[in-house]
């Protein structure tokens, strides 16, 4: 059985999560299981660096947008997706 073809997603962070992560965007090529949902991707990301793990851990309430449209933690990801993670919005 051949490995699933590599899928690349761009991850963007905003606001407090961006500051905690110390980075505003990452291009990552996670293993296929990390793409079944945003939640799975977050778990995978949290294991990549201690700072990312702490940043996500310190931001337990998160919203997500996929390709600039609000999505949910259950949403699946595809190659080329732009996944934005951020704390609950506070505009207005």
């Amino acid at each position: 059985m051949s490995a699933a073809p590599a899928a690349t997603v761009e991850v963007r962070f905003f606001a407090a999560l961006r500051e905690r992560a110390g980075v505003d965007r990452l291009t990552v090529t996670p293993p296929a299981p990390a793409l079944v949902s945003v939640a799975a991707l977050c778990d995978w990301l949290a294991g990549q660096t201690p700072q990312l793990g702490r940043a996500l851990g310190d931001t337990p309430r998160r919203m997500v947008a996929i390709n600039e449209v609000l999505a949910t933690m259950d949403s699946a990801l595809r190659d080329g997706d732009v996944v934005a993670l951020f704390p609950p919005v506070t505009g207005g």
Binding site: F14, A15, R61, L70, F86, P88, V89, T90, G91, G92
Partner: protein, 148 residues
């Protein structure tokens, strides 16, 4: 014909224009949100946004309002960047033939803007910047517009 205008501004908002004389709109409701000083505890505000998505999300909520109420014009203008106490953060204008639609659409737009549009507030207080936490009140306010 119903129009939508959305804008992100980095400078202080110009005063609201005089009423247009389209003749069809008997009612205009304008909501302005401005930076409160919280009894002098707030020195400044900073608004972060997600360029591109923020505008698209504002258009989406305007379209949702347009489908739900008979309105003639929706305008949403939101400041980003650093703001001073008293500055307008957001201005939502709704014109409609009748006031009920204008009031409801404007209140709806503010409620969903506060829960769905990617914008984040940071406050300068006592010389320290800190992020504003989302309020449960705002989540509840947005929830009341969802179908039962």
């Amino acid at each position: 014909m119903s129009a939508i205008r959305v804008a992100i501004e980095t400078c202080p908002l110009a005063p609201a224009r005089a009423l247009g004389d389209d003749g069809a709109s008997g009612a205009r409701v304008v909501f302005s949100g401005q930076v409160r000083d919280e009894q002098g505890k707030v020195q400044a505000l900073f608004l972060e946004h997600y360029p591109g998505m923020t505008e698209a999300a504002m258009e989406n909520i305007a379209r949702a309002a347009q489908q739900r109420w008979p309105v003639n014009l929706i305008e949403i203008i939101h400041r980003v960047g650093e703001l001073a106490v008293g500055d307008e953060i957001v201005r939502v204008t709704v014109c409609a033939a009748h006031r009920q639609a204008a009031f409801e659409a404007c209140a709806f737009l503010m409620d969903v803007l506060k829960s769905e549009v990617p914008l984040w507030k940071k406050v300068l207080s006592g010389g320290v910047w800190h992020w504003v936490e989302a309020r449960d009140d705002d989540a509840r306010a947005a929830a009341r517009w969802r179908a039962p």
